[in-house]
């Protein structure tokens, strides 16, 4: 995933490859510059405590705001205020291995509908983006679980949805 983080007067664009879990030294790109990151120690909640970046040891603690987003990173005891400017698309792909794929798609998390890309009655391909829901500042592409006709859309842009609300149905 790609992130844009603001710290002081700086804006960093950070690219983290989802295939690593960082329990071994793994790459992170900051403005195309590669860093080798290793999470050495986490606490009982799984939050990072000691991290090595290019083999330099950092004791860290991260404070989150009300929405769960990092607000302050304390690095070697020095606080740095951070702001998450943007998170680029995460894809929650429904599991393809199931034999019968339900056409009903419900909101997996609370959030706001940002865009509708396909109108009611139109045909969709499996995996096509139907709508974009923003949750916790992340824009999530909600994909069609199977190919077919988009029978009904139960939301419109700017709607707030709760977890489990019906978003759309594919025939």
């Amino acid at each position: 995933m790609k992130y844009q983080v603001k710290q002081g007067d700086h804006r960093y664009s950070i690219d983290i490859d989802g295939k690593y879990d960082y329990s071994h030294a793994s790459p992170v790109l900051v403005d195309k510059k590669a860093y080798e990151v290793l999470i050495d120690e986490t606490d009982a909640n799984g939050d990072m405590r000691t991290v090595m970046i290019n083999r330099k040891v950092y004791r860290v603690s991260i404070t989150r705001g009300a929405e769960g987003f990092p607000e302050e990173v304390v690095l070697k005891g020095v606080p740095y205020r951070v702001e998450i400017d943007k998170i680029e698309s995460t894809r929650y792909r429904p599991d393809a291995s199931k034999k019968e794929i339900p056409g009903r798609v419900e909101a997996a998390m609370p959030g706001q509908i940002v865009h509708l890309l396909i109108q009611e009655g139109q045909a969709v391909e499996k995996g096509q983006v139907v709508l974009i829901q923003e949750a916790m500042k992340m824009e999530n592409e909600i994909l069609a679980p199977k190919s077919g006709k988009l029978r009904t859309i139960h939301v419109k842009p700017k709607d707030l949805v709760m977890k489990g609300d019906l978003l759309f149905e594919v025939e």
Binding site: H10, D21, V37
Partner: protein, 503 residues
Amino acid sequence: MFSKVLIVNRGLIQANCVRAARELGCQAITVYAPNDKNSSGVRNADEAWELEPKSSGIPYLDIEQIVDLAAKLKVDAVHPGYGFLSQNADFKNRLNEKGIKLISADNIEGYDLANKPQIREFARKMGIPILPGSETCGSVESLAEAAKSVGYPLVMKATEGYGGIGIRVIEREGELEASYHNVIAQSERFMFNAHQVYLERFFPRARHIEFPVARDKHGNTVVFPERDCTVQRRFQKLITESPSPFLPDSLRSKLKSAVHMLMDQLQVVGFVSVEFLYDGNQAYFIEVNSYMQPSHGVSALLTGVDMLREQIGLAAGNPLSFRESDLESDKFVMGVFVSAEDTERNFVPSPGVITRMHLPYGDGVYSLTNVFTNDTVATFYDPIIALVMVRERTREKALIKMQSALDALHIDGVKTSVPLMRALMRFPEFKRGDFDCQLLTNKETRDRIFENVRTPTDSEIAGILAALSLQRDASKQHILEQARTHSRSNIWDMASEWFSRSK
């Protein structure tokens, strides 16, 4: 020597008094409020009694209950520690009536060391400079009148205040009444003659210098090397340095002889500390504290004198076991008080459970604490949780040692003053001694102290860590999503629910 001593306090001082009493061969008995049952002072005492909480007030201030208990247990002496009842005249009289000694300094009949305006006047008559100030006032009208001659800005202090309680800076006349009510409201929780206050001219650009003193009943007096407690917040000390690297030798010897004179005139028996404000050319007497102070650990480390043990000995009528010349030292000690506070939000207490605590280690590094991993820091009492000290040949070397000690001190679960103190050890103005009591009191300076240690690389690293923590959240969520589609069980919904709540 006493055979039974009752220790009436909590926290670190309780634990330390228990230790000292036991080393002297006394039976150490202590009390505790129900919430403090699991503290090290209670664990290590010979006997411990629970104080019954009353609907209002702090159990450790319940004179009635404590005096009754002391009489019932037939103790010889009560050690009050610091704060709470340590300088309460009523408590002392009630114990004395029962033939029990309160371990605090005694002095000449008719004077009360806790009565600040009275002792100020005593010192002034001896020719010791004091700050312009007033006598004790008990009404807004008399305060307004007194304030005119003292001049603004001024400090309003509870007559029997201690430990930064009941003290307030007043910039102009309009603030007088509200401040008076404020000071009283705070004092009522901790003091007895809460309505009595006095005024003193406010000297913001000054250093706080204090001399610990021990004097026995034969008149032998030892003045310890002075402590510089200039770094404060809310009039409470955060850093203690001893001896003060910023006090000229000529002034030091003048102040020492003034202290000797004052002690002889007051006929003090016991341990006290005599406090001054030093504005760069003159030192003004402010008060005498009749109890052992939290920063006594710094003097103990500097001189090798077990001050708590000596204090109990003096109260039992023993002569001093050392002389002033025994204390000469070419060492320097710095002590940093670690408080559970959010220094970025003006030092508001940060209560909670200490999920992990790693104390610093190494030659010349000493830590005093009574909290450990999994202990809870409550907001009700003082938020100081540890005193970290280093001993070195010079202040320069001590600063370097304190930097590495604080770098190795890790406290998780609550916010503490450690980050600010770490940065302060690297702050040029602090390093070269260019500071006064106001150093940490405004946010701009605190920001500058942090800004001084920020680097472009670490800013970038902070960005990486913020993004990485989100990435970890998202992948945890993703794993749950996948698991859910694989399973008919609703356990994954429950897990996902829990996950969103736990954030």
